[in-house]
Subunit: 171 residues, 2 copies
DNA sequence: ACATTCTGATCTCGAATTGAAAGCAGTTGC
DNA sequence: GCAACTGCTTTCAATTCGAGATCAGAATGT
């Protein structure tokens, strides 16, 4: 980790951490897709290539955005976990999704999650962050039972996928 | 403007627009620094070089993030303006600043603005966005008189600068 | 009138980054 | 035994980045 920064501005430093075309997508897939393994992350919507993924994961670990440990069930598997720093990006992800949905040519299927996050507001974000802390940091569950935020988002996504698939079939 | 996107995901599309090390800094300087001209933007904290600045400005204009027009007072001057799309990034800027301030080695002088934005919350952001609409989009002023948000942030910055300069002198 | 400064870029060229595709040394499951 | 899976690493061409020099026209100062 080098310490030569362009400036001490918070926005600049944030960009030095994830101001590129891939880092936030990896984090997105971990947060919203529940992905923890290299091979899972390799199957991103955008088709990241393995060398880039390996490089970004290494950098993100060095910067404290992720941690990496061995998977007990498989000697060659590595498990990547979010840190508090990365979980704290959930509201920013929500804002980014809302902004993109408003101003950019998003697809319906891939923006339903952003819509639900926007509608859910800070309450939903907090609940999601708590769930991520349980999942990635071993925090003790405090929230009530029922479907998790990720499950809810995923279900909505699959429902839209099923509907649009049927519409395409009929067309 | 090409239309071949990696995916229709809102977060991905957002990153395709400003997912690099410079675009958001240019927008930051326009929003918080009130900069409108090439030469002003060239004097950034981070020392952007002129070819990069020219390239990013061109791209941002093409994407509808900025508009460019002639300055009536000088035939060679160009004035860059924010669009609604870019003004809508203010809350994201605030979140980014807050996140950076919490997790990264920011400098006191350059993070005082982020602190005030964080403390001000959505109310302050809305007021700021209204002021930007007046300044850049020609909206009719609706807010009460008194110092603008940018002036308030700038004054706080200069106060910290004066204090730390004195401290350095004494040390 | 004349020099200086200011304007928004553009040009050059070496260095760094990007990324597709193939390969690899193991591990696991059947 | 063997095919599939594991997290990468290597190769190499193409692209992008970026510092510095430069530019032509316009305003400004004297």
């Amino acid at each position: 980790m080098t310490d030569d920064h362009r400036s001490g501005c918070p926005i600049n430093l944030s960009l030095e951490v994830f101001g590129d075309k891939w880092s936030l997508l990896i984090i997105r897939d971990m947060i919203f897709g529940g992905k923890r393994h290299f091979r899972e992350l390799l199957r991103s919507q955008e088709g990241i290539s393995s060398n880039i993924l390996a490089d970004r994961l290494k950098t993100l670990v060095e910067m404290g955005m992720l941690t990496k440990r061995d998977d007990p069930s498989h000697k060659q598997k590595a498990i990547y976990s979010l840190t508090e720093m990365t979980i704290a990006l959930v509201p920013i992800m929500a804002h980014l999704g809302a902004w993109g949905r408003r101003y950019l040519p998003v697809s319906e299927e891939l923006s339903i999650r952003a819509q639900l996050m926007e509608e859910g507001g800070p309450e939903l974000w907090d609940r999601f962050m708590d769930e991520l802390r349980v999942e990635h940091l071993g925090a003790t569950p405090s929230a009530p039972d029922g479907p998790t935020v990720r499950q809810t988002l995923q279900a909505a996504y699959e429902q839209v996928m099923a509907r649009t698939a049927k519409e395409r079939e009929l067309a």
